[in-house]
């Protein structure tokens, strides 16, 4: 997915970055893809919960400049998708949709 974005002119800053808490050294979370304008969480699963995305939006180590969080979730069940959209996340369900969103960011 990161390669697909790169091939289409999107500036990918990092890929599959694991971030650690600086004091304790404990892992905080993965950041799947970061572009110059967004953090993209990729999930194959159909069930992930909103809280598990919230840290990407709010944690200052994972997303220090508060970039938009986009979920790439091609297999989400409808009710999970509805909950995620209601929480204010942008969701892409295909490669092209992800590209369209990332290209449209100011």
């Amino acid at each position: 997915m990161a390669q697909f974005l790169l091939d289409n002119g999107i500036a990918v800053v990092s890929f599959q970055r694991l971030e650690y808490e600086p004091v304790s050294g404990d892992p905080i979370s993965d950041v799947d893809i970061e572009t110059d304008k967004a953090v993209i969480e990729v999930t194959t699963g159909r069930k992930r919960k909103i809280e598990q995305f919230d840290i990407l939006r709010s944690n200052t180590y994972l997303n220090p400049s508060g970039k938009l969080v986009i979920l790439f979730a091609p297999t989400y069940k409808k009710f999970v998708l509805a909950n995620v959209l209601a929480a204010g996340y942008r969701v892409a369900r295909s490669d092209q949709e992800l590209l369209n969103i990332t290209q449209s960011l100011p």
Partner: protein
């Protein structure tokens, strides 16, 4: 990270879960979202009691695989870092030694979705295999 859902026919409370995770060497999660994080080198697994419980659509398959009513759902989020899926298989094995459990790999059926029984989980552990078919890992 990618999730698997561990489901038990036993009611597991948060204090019970946290105490159990401590026996696995879990650390507290700095984000406070998870009940514990287990790591070994770069391999990481985050674990949380699933407050939203079990989807109605899934009750039948879990009941069938457990041979009993599903009562507890635990989400295990697995890092994409190398070794994490294997670490998760080991952790699930420890759960299976303590409680009757099954594990849903959370994939849609058409790309390898599966609910693993306790016996199948032991086979996974013995064979060194993971929860997901390689081709289904679209995040790679």
């Amino acid at each position: 990270m990618e999730p698997v859902q561990l489901v038990s026919s036993v009611e597991i409370s948060r204090p019970e879960l946290v105490a159990f995770l401590q026996t696995l060497g879990a650390k507290a999660d700095s984000t406070k979202i998870y009940d514990g994080v287990v790591y070994r080198g770069d391999a990481n697994v985050w674990i949380v009691l699933d407050r939203e419980g079990i989807d109605e659509d899934d009750v039948e398959i879990f009941t069938q695989k457990l041979g009993n009513t599903p009562r507890t759902s635990i989400v295990i989020d697995i890092s994409r870092a190398e070794g994490s899926e294997q670490l998760a298989v080991e952790i699930v094995g420890r759960f299976a030694e303590r409680w009757p459990v099954v594990v849903d790999n959370c994939l849609p059926e058409e790309i390898g979705g599966k609910v693993f029984t306790a016996d199948e989980l032991l086979e996974l552990k013995a064979s060194g295999k993971g929860f997901w078919p390689q081709y289904a890992q679209v995040g790679q």
